[in-house]
């Protein structure tokens, strides 16, 4: 019998995964658009809304994770494998906070407040600062790429568990 993650943990996992992929794709799209257009303006705002939604879900997810212990990893895993899995998950959590917070910080630095869904105006994280904005955008970009590449490695590990080790690691999250 497979002991699964709790339903909220599973839902949050997949919602956050989808949100990150979509935000990443939108971010790359707007960044490749030249100049200033209605389309770009809209997509940047959708990107910001989506990113803030991810941030909120990640916060809920972390609270849930801290109050609900996940099922034990399979006994056949080597201690070092468990360590690698553990640290990867920790780093994923750090990046899931850092990347959207970095985007929010960048938006503030550029002098554009974040109005989530066009409804809720969030506070600026810093005053407008054009010089720092460039650096912050670069960090946001590097952070986003690291997050996505790490998530790809994480997904590859899950598939390896499923198809090669044939254990129930992936099933627990489905």
């Amino acid at each position: 019998m497979t002991i699964k993650y709790t339903l909220p943990a599973r839902l949050l996992h997949w919602l956050v995964a989808l949100g990150i992929i979509a935000a990443f794709a939108l971010g790359l799209t707007t960044d490749s658009m030249e100049g200033f257009s209605m389309q770009k303006l809209k997509l940047i705002n959708y990107h910001k809304w989506l990113g803030i939604s991810v941030l909120a879900l990640v916060a809920i997810r972390l609270l849930w994770r801290l109050s609900h212990r996940p099922p034990e990893l399979p006994a056949q895993m080597q201690p070092w494998e468990k360590q690698v899995a553990h640290y990867t998950h920790m780093l994923l959590y750090v990046l899931m906070f850092a990347v959207p917070l970095g985007g929010w910080l960048y938006s503030s630095a550029k002098g554009f407040p974040v109005v989530w869904l066009g409804l809720v105006e969030l506070p600026n994280l810093m005053d407008k600062n054009e010089e720092l904005a460039g650096t912050i955008k670069f960090m946001h970009k590097i952070g986003a790429w690291t997050l996505v590449l790490l998530a790809v490695a994480h997904a590859a590990a899950a598939l390896k568990h499923h198809f090669i080790q044939k254990d129930d690691v992936l099933k627990r999250m489905l």
């Binding site: 100049g35 200033f36 209605m38 303006l41 809209k42 705002n45 002098g111 554009f112 407040p113 066009g118």
Partner: protein, 182 residues
């Protein structure tokens, strides 16, 4: 030289029965605006303008104000937007480089508040505009300050797809602060 200039301007002021127009100090003065794009308030600034103000709070009806804003020097919040704002759909600065306001009708509104009514002209269209302001004297001069909403669509600022007020709201809040030394 200076005496003659002084004499001439006193003469001009005397004959016209108007207060003498003095330029606003560009270092202390500012004309800013806040526009709303997708419900996000974004601040911008007209970085180059001239303002000549003749205004005596005791005799408001003799006042005269001339303001000219150099639209090519508009900071619209980001480098992309600064370029876009020069385009045909927005200010069309190559055809209409300046926005001007000249007012000679003033009304006291009480409590140090006044209104100025005059011709506002931008992008080839001229129409009446009334602007409220306050006057605060200090030891060396006077501050003229005010804030008012301007309908961008009334002056065709943002045409075509940009006339969509869901993307960029119609009302643009203009905030000015002009300092004229004595």
């Amino acid at each position: 030289m200076r005496r003659t200039a002084l004499f001439l301007s006193l003469l001009a002021a005397g004959t016209l029965g108007q207060a003498q127009a003095a330029p606003a100090d560009p270092a202390k003065s500012s004309v800013k605006f806040v526009f709303t794009q997708m419900n996000v308030p974004v601040e911008g600034q007209f970085k180059k303008f001239s303002a000549d103000i003749a205004f005596d709070t005791a005799k408001p009806d003799t006042g005269k104000v001339n303001i000219a804003v150099d639209l090519a020097a508009t900071d619209a919040g980001s480098s992309d937007a600064n370029q876009a704002v020069q385009m045909k759909e927005w200010f069309n600065t190559s055809s209409y480089p300046k926005a001007t306001f000249s007012a000679n009708q003033f009304k006291p509104l009480g409590g140090g508040k006044f209104s100025a009514t005059g011709q506002f002209s931008v992008k080839g269209k001229t129409a009446n505009l009334t602007v409220p302001f306050t006057v605060k004297p200090d030891a060396k001069g006077s501050w003229y300050e005010g804030s008012f909403p301007l309908s961008r669509l009334a002056w065709k600022i943002g045409e075509g797809e940009w006339s969509d007020v869901g993307a960029v709201a119609d009302a643009v809040q203009v905030k000015f602060k002009l300092y004229v030394a004595k």
